[in-house]
């Protein structure tokens, strides 16, 4: 009993092999090879008699390396003596004749100067194939492009998955030593604060080190957010609170940073704007918008407005900074995108992406109006009652 070809499950009677059957040939087989490897894998077959497709597979499986078909003359003809000479035994010869190998044309699949495999056209009766050759070559060219595209697509998907996995692992790995570092710094800071006559330069340095560690921790958390989102694991812990209160508190925390940037924070908080949201996540969005406004605000005043209607609470952060060119506006909410050169402005390019994901998880929306050289206004609108999709998932 001939062994079953190992590639059988991945060998559908696919479109590309069916195209030339029956007009150009009685059967067609498409094989591809990994670069630098002699063995071919059958990826598509078609036979004018569908039952004989199994025979084709068996034939190909008989020789895992090298040719599985007898040599043909330049015009495609395979002499009966050549079939007999090629066959390993009587059963093999029977298989060859049953499939039909009187004429064979093999066309290499070439793309970007690389041979990806071969497309074989076979005919059971001796017939001259010259007239059809051009079509056969053209079809093979299309097949080659399709194979190449499929491979490139697969490679891209694998690379993206590898990137997401790497992000997830890297951010988890970073978080562990950071936790230990932060604990030590916080404990030092605590000890210093209660110590009479503590050495002042040490105190300020510890403060600064703790601030930097906390910045690192923030960046690590944002990277983790990206992998959470990619894996669909962004979850909301809903609680009722007042957005105006939360924004007031946050802007107080930003006082130092605002002073450094030379930006005045002007608040117009029309609260209470209560709703059911994830407090930490909403604070994360507001922080992101505030730090962006400070970063790109060119030292001009920044207006922060909270307002509400019966259905929504809204927050606008309005700066008079560098602004965003129109062609970049869509892009800035995408992952790893940024509208400014990374050499001039730091950042990972994920803040607004994460912000949009959080807002949308709440069933809300985020938008921006901006003009280059005039400034930007980012607005988020959150429904006060969660959308069904925002309900907390228990796992």
């Amino acid at each position: 009993v001939p062994s079953q070809p190992t590639s059988a499950p991945s060998c559908p009677r696919s479109g590309v092999a069916r195209l030339p059957v029956p007009r150009l040939a009685d059967w067609c087989a498409v094989e591809v090879s990994e670069s630098g490897q002699a063995s071919h894998e059958l990826i598509a077959i078609a036979h004018i008699v569908p039952e004989k497709e199994t025979l084709l597979k068996q034939l190909a499986a008989r020789s895992s390396e090298g040719d599985w078909l007898p040599p043909a003359a330049p015009d495609g003809e395979v002499r009966a003596t050549a079939i007999t000479a090629f066959a390993k035994d009587a059963e093999h010869e029977q298989l060859l004749r049953s499939v039909g190998v009187a004429s064979i044309v093999r066309v290499p699949l070439v793309v970007r100067e690389r041979t990806l495999g071969v497309m074989t056209y076979g005919i059971g009766s001796a017939r001259r194939l010259d007239a059809d050759r051009r079509l056969m070559f053209e079809l093979a060219q299309h097949a080659a492009l399709a194979v190449d595209n499929a491979r490139l697509y697969l490679a891209t998907q694998l690379a993206l998955r590898a990137r997401d996995e790497f992000l997830s692992i890297a951010s988890h790995e970073l978080r562990t030593p950071l936790t230990a570092l932060q604990l030590q710094l916080q404990s030092l800071r605590r000890a210093m604060s209660t110590m009479e006559g503590a050495w002042e330069p040490a105190r300020t340095r510890i403060e600064s080190a703790a601030r930097q560690a906390s910045r690192l921790a923030g960046l690590t958390e944002r990277l983790l957010d990206v992998s959470r989102i990619a894996a669909g694991r962004l979850k909301l812990d809903l609680e009722e609170f007042d957005l105006a209160d939360a924004v007031r508190e946050l802007t107080e925390r930003f006082a130092d940073e605002a002073a450094k940037a030379g930006c005045k924070l002007e608040l117009d908080l029309r609260g209470p704007a209560r709703g059911l949201w994830d407090r930490l996540r909403v604070e994360q969005i507001v922080s992101n918008l505030l730090s962006n406004a400070l970063k790109y605000g060119r030292g001009q005043p920044i207006q922060v407005l909270v307002d509400h209607d019966p259905m929504h609470a809204t927050l606008s952060v309005n700066d008079a900074g560098i602004g965003i060119p129109e062609q970049d506006i869509k892009r800035i909410f995408e992952r790893f995108e940024r509208a400014v050169p990374s050499r001039q402005y730091g950042g990972l390019g994920i803040g607004l992406y994460v912000a949009r994901q959080i807002v949308e998880a709440h069933g809300g929306e985020i938008r921006v109006e901006s003009r280059v050289g005039i400034g930007s206004r980012f607005t988020i609108a959150l429904p006060r009652q969660p959308a069904p999709a925002a309900r907390r998932e228990e796992t």
């Binding site: 230990a180 916080q186 979850k235």
Partner: protein, 125 residues
Amino acid sequence: MKGTVMIVEDDGDIREALATVLADEGMPALTAANGQDALVCLKTSPEAPMLIVLDLMMPVMDGWQFAAALRAQPTWARIPIVLLSAGEDLETHARNLGACSYVRKPVDLEKLLVIVEQCASHGMS
């Protein structure tokens, strides 16, 4: 009154940092790298700790298995547990394990100390 705290955490740096910090606050720490070590440590300690700070994801014996083993022993069943983890859904895990509270990594020391004091006094009352 302050007593001993047990820290069950597989990362050595975090474990040591926590032990130092708690010792500074007058709470000497027993440390273990996983649930199994912690059970051995509990058996050999003259006195049960007033509180256990427990990581969830650990090799050999994880936090869930350890908590179950702890609850099955009448002498230890009432020791309060504070979960310490970088994982998701800590609130749910804390509820399911009967932990008295939880702290997310990266740890905010001030928060951790408040929680430890609260849970310890709660456990003793």
